[in-house]
């Protein structure tokens, strides 16, 4: 028994050490964003700033149009996540509620888009968006991201757990398919819908690849692109300001995750195989 307990403590130590290592970068960014540049260089190891200052944040706000950049990021993230959730609910419902010829194949084809790497689609999408005259616009960034196979999968998995008797009863009442969807199916699958929405929002908020191809002018920049101006492999010169920008970019995903943590984690845990 005591040997078992000792092994347990040892593993806890390993897990906690790993957690600390994973949290260190966050603590590092946070603490250095509140140091003056000279303090940061002389005491980079200190996790609690001895003379905390807000000068880095005020510098960020005076130099970057933070509100505009945030609004751009928010616009793309909202459009993408709202559309992804709507298209996913409809498709998931079609696959759950109706049986039609080719259903299995079509489902497989749609889900397999998860395996299409973005380098396969980015050049033609770049050309299409350009020929629509939407190059360097927020709409051009959002347009190819209005649907997502992960959402179809997660929401369908959840819809399949609805007891048949509930659906049968609703059918007896002669409800329309759409009525059943909005009144019965959607309320019963809320956790999966909500966590898909949050994940889509966070992913789009953090998105880098496609916006960097699309957006050229600074007034259209998203957070990721603004951040990039402070990076080079040697680190650039404005260490503490860069940390402040990082902290600002982390805030929204962080807050959302803390608020909806339970939903998100349980959706991924119980989704069985896919995520």
């Amino acid at each position: 028994m005591s040997r078992r307990a000792a092994i347990g403590i040892l593993w806890h130590a390993v897990l906690i050490a790993l957690l600390l290592a994973m949290f260190y970068p966050i603590a590092f960014a946070l603490s250095n964003s509140f140091k003056s540049i000279s303090d940061a260089y002389s005491s980079v190891m200190e996790l609690i700033p001895s003379r905390p200052t807000l000068e880095n944040y005020s510098r960020v706000f005076s130099r970057l149009d933070v509100w505009r950049i945030t609004a751009n990021t928010l616009f793309i993230a909202l459009v993408a996540s709202v559309f992804k959730v709507l298209t996913s609910i409809l498709a998931a419902y079609a696959f759950t509620e109706f049986s039609f010829p080719g259903r299995g194949v079509l489902y497989f084809v749609m889900i397999s888009t998860i395996f299409i790497p973005f380098n396969v689609t980015m050049l033609p999408n770049y050309l299409s968006i350009t020929s629509l005259g939407l190059n360097d616009t927020l709409v051009g960034v959002a347009l190819p991201q209005l649907c997502d196979a992960t959402g179809i999968f997660l929401i369908r998995q959840s819809m399949r757990t609805i007891p048949r008797s509930i659906l049968e009863a609703a059918r007896m009442e002669n409800r329309s398919s759409l009525g059943m969807l909005t009144d019965i199916v959607v309320p019963l699958t809320r956790p999966a819908i909500l966590s898909s929405a949050i994940i889509f929002f966070i992913n789009s908020w953090n998105e880098y690849v496609w916006p960097v191809l699309m957006l050229k002018s600074k007034e259209n920049f998203t957070l990721s692109l603004a951040l990039q101006m402070y990076i080079s492999s040697e680190g650039g010169t404005e260490f503490t300001v860069a940390m402040a920008v990082s902290v600002l970019a982390m805030l929204v995903p962080f807050g959302l995750y803390v608020m909806f943590q339970k939903f998100i984690v349980s959706t991924f845990t119980s989704s069985g195989v896919k995520g």
């Binding site: 593993w11 806890h12 957690l19 395996f115 299409i116 689609t121 492999s233 995903p253």
Partner: protein, 292 residues
């Protein structure tokens, strides 16, 4: 019945049109462009047949990129597949306390942008003023300038990417491992089967559906996630030592404007992923898909 088909079709129409316009049509177009020589702006595309593919397969540079891609895959799998698998087993069988807490905390870095991750890690690993360099100095060691050192550059970029992948993989595999029947494990424990044998003989095979899925996704997602740290930190350098297949096709298309070879590289990436998808179906079929 007809009516039902129409309804189903109408509900699928939005997703089908988005996938059609921005997934399948571009896929076909990339495939088409891979048979041409084209600089993206010129009105003429020159047909070269399989020329781009032949040129790629014979190029030492591409061999190098393929080698890097394999090295990335191995590191990402070790860190984000093997380690979480073992830890998930430990958390479900050895230490049971604090499971929800560990799950929630490990996932947290997964919601942070890779650009932010890249930025923070460059400063932590800064060879002059970063905490790692200073700690190494105190121990009398010197940290290499990782961004200029072949090999080290792959390790560091994998580390940045793992910070994003690890937590997600951990909760998914924990879900799979926790799904293994506890009666079977209890029976084995009563028979005094050592824990590591319980892991290799019972848990691994019984959670293999999730395991295979995660193995495949780690490579598929990992290769794409790597693009961001490569693009913002090294641009594939030094001397292509950190480029992978996905980044290199971008480089061909959008940096040197050889869209034909870039597209051929993209097709090769897709074939690699399709092979992984095929593997997944071979192994996972019957365990997961039959129930649907």
């Amino acid at each position: 019945m007809k009516n039902m088909n129409v309804k189903a079709f109408l509900m699928l129409l939005p997703s089908l049109s988005v996938f059609g316009a921005f997934m399948f049509w571009p896929l076909a177009r990339t495939f088409y462009i891979s048979f041409f020589e084209w600089n993206m702006v010129s009105p003429v595309k020159k047909f070269v047949g399989l020329g781009n593919y032949a040129a790629l397969l014979g190029s030492p540079l591409v061999h190098r990129v393929l080698g890097n891609t394999a090295a990335y895959a191995l590191i990402l799998l070790a860190v984000n597949f093997v380690v979480p698998y073992v830890l998930a087993f430990v958390l479900s069988q050895v230490v049971k306390r604090g499971r929800a807490l560990y799950k929630g905390a490990f996932f947290l870095p997964s919601v942070i942008s890779l650009v932010v991750g890249s930025m923070i890690y460059t400063w932590i690993l800064n060879p002059i003023s970063g905490p790692v360099a200073i700690a190494a100095q105190r121990l009398g060691l010197s940290a290499p300038i990782w961004s200029k050192t072949e090999g080290a550059v792959i390790v560091v970029l994998s580390l940045v990417t793992s910070w994003k992948i690890f937590g997600y993989n951990f909760i998914v595999i924990l879900g799979g491992v926790s799904g293994v029947s506890s009666e079977v494990i209890e029976a084995a424990r009563v028979d005094n089967v050592p824990l590591w044998r319980i892991f290799t003989d019972i848990v691994l095979p019984m959670s293999s559906a999730t395991g295979v899925y995660l193995f495949v996704m780690t490579v598929v997602q990992g290769m794409q996630f790597l693009f961001t740290p490569i693009r913002v930190l090294t641009m594939g350098g030094p001397n292509y030592a950190s480029s992978n297949l996905v980044y290199h096709s971008y480089h061909e298309m959008f940096v040197v404007y050889r869209t034909g070879t870039g597209s051929a590289l993209a097709v090769i990436t897709l074939l690699g992923f399709a092979f992984l998808l095929f593997l997944e179906f071979r192994f996972v079929e019957g365990r997961v898909y039959y129930e649907s």
